[in-house]
Amino acid sequence: MHPAPSVILFTTLSGLGFGLLTFLGLGYPGVTGWVAFVFYAIAYALAVGGLLASTFHLGRPERALKAFSQWKTSWLSREGLCAVAALMVMGLFALGAIFLQQDWRLLGILGAALSLATVFTTSMIYTQLKTIPRWNMALTPVMFLSVSLAGGALLAGKESWAIWLLLLAGAVQLAYWGKGDGAFAASGTTMKTATGLGGNLGAKQSGATVRAFEPPHTGSNYLLREFVYVVGRKHAFKLRAIALTLGFALPILFLALPMENLLIKHLMAGFAVLSHMIGVAVSRWLFFAQAEHVVGLYYGKR
């Protein structure tokens, strides 16, 4: 799949933002006043910024409101609704915390649940697609949720939790890659099932081989640009190492190092967040770039 920067930015930033909102809603940290304002400003900048970035890849962004209508069947629609609901509930909760020094517990828990639901619905947009075996796995939502929670804990300053959640997210990430590498083969879709050729030329010839001889056109097209992205896949192993190191290993190290000085401690936490964000962005780039759409089979490509 073509790794569109807008979509990578969206899933990285909004995942982090809604992760932070989840923790804020649960009362970690239970901040009020100015401190709360800063926390919520960061969370909203990430979540809303991510959502806005996602509209950049629309052909007709001016009609985006229509996307809220089909929640009965469409995960994209559900995601939109969850996101708006989460932002509204958490907005109300934030107002209470910032201006009224209030901690409306129920509202916070509801907001946290909606924030997590947003991350889940985002992941389901990808998970539901049978056409992309690498995404069509139960591990996909697990990965999105665990990364979002780890990032949220990191930003919320819940360091003891962040270490464990980062460990968990890193492990899930590894498992996702491991399982994903075999997903296309496991899906059973091949050029033979795509074309019905080879196996169907009469029972005698079931051992036939099929090969793409000529594409329908000499130039490129929407399908090839969008679904058959092979550039840079050969660096996948290195990029995975980078994603794992920056996204999970380094932040854990930054958090785990015993620091006496408070300033250095904060600085380290800042580094951890930055490193985590870059690592997750790299992992999301791989999430798209390595995802092979079955339509590539018609072009003899994957």
């Binding site: 052909g59 229509k66 209508s69 469409s74 049978k130 001889f213 329908p216 056109h217 339509v295």
Partner: protein, 268 residues
């Protein structure tokens, strides 16, 4: 609405004969021609006369090579070239419809045709992601999703002569490789064709239940001990001309200027 109908009264669709398709791309061109002027936004091209042309098509023809396995009776079977037209299969369980967030994509209850209401489409592309067959293309000029309409503006069009009330691609195919009809009616011509020829689904494992069917190509490498009755008549009588022709040949060679050897060389 993006909820799929549980059942459609008819299942209008195409039956594509991989045995007779000659790969002429007439259906590609006539489809583009009809659909760029009729239903919905035109099918745009980008850089049409430049170095990197591309454009929106609702129907494209691929070509595959099938190499049959060797058998005792056919130790050295010839490869077959199969031309493979592909347009929307108007799936019964169409994932492209249910993923659509706006309700722009829908499947008609009356005939099962899958369409896009372009006024509602936000061009998110998710429906194209969900289609296993590459049947949907986002038009770069309009920013909306385009797909085969089964020529819904022809097949019920009373302004056209009856013979033209079939999809443009079906009407234009010179090989009779595209058939149109109701695949929900077991007694229709197309259903009988599918039953006779062992019509198949593409990627059945995707669970999309395509309405369009493909008729498998027949094995072609079956003519054993071929007797060519014309061969003796076509064999060259002599390689080097003799008699009058031989004299003429030599005489011409002796003339100054280009000789027959040079003319076949690189001197042009």
């Amino acid at each position: 609405m993006t909820e799929l109908p549980t059942n459609t009264a008819k299942k209008m669709g195409l039956v594509i004969d991989l045995d007779t398709c000659v790969g002429c791309h007439a259906c590609v061109i006539s489809c583009k021609g009809w659909n760029t002027e009729n239903y919905g936004a035109p099918l745009s091209d980008q850089d049409a006369y430049g170095a990197d042309p591309s454009g929106t098509f609702l129907n494209r023809v691929h070509s595959f090579e099938v190499q049959p396995a060797a058998t005792p009776s056919q130790p050295d079977p010839a490869a077959q070239l199969i031309h493979f037209p592909k347009s929307c299969l108007h799936c019964e369980d169409a994932p492209c419809v249910t993923v659509c967030p706006t309700g722009a994509s829908y499947k008609r209850i009356e005939d099962g045709i899958v369409l896009v209401n372009e006024d509602n489409c936000i061009g998110c592309g998710l429906c194209a992601w969900s289609c296993p067959y590459g049947a949907r293309e986002l038009d770069l000029a309009e920013g909306v999703m385009k797909k085969c309409t089964l020529c819904v503006d022809r097949i019920y069009n009373d302004n056209l002569p009856e013979v033209d009330r079939v999809p443009s691609c079906v009407r234009s195919c010179p090989a009779g490789a595209r058939h149109f009809g109701d695949l929900g009616d077991p007694n229709s011509e197309v259903s009988k064709l599918v039953a006779d020829r062992g019509g198949m689904d593409l990627m059945p494992e995707m669970g999309t239940k395509p309405v369009n069917k493909y008729l498998p190509p027949r094995p072609k490498d079956q003519l054993e001990e071929q007797i060519d009755v014309l061969a003796p008549l076509l064999a060259p009588v002599t390689e080097t001309p003799g008699g009058f022709l031989g004299w003429l040949d030599k005489a011409l060679d002796r003339l100054p200027g280009q000789t027959s050897d040079q003319s076949s060389g690189g001197q042009a």
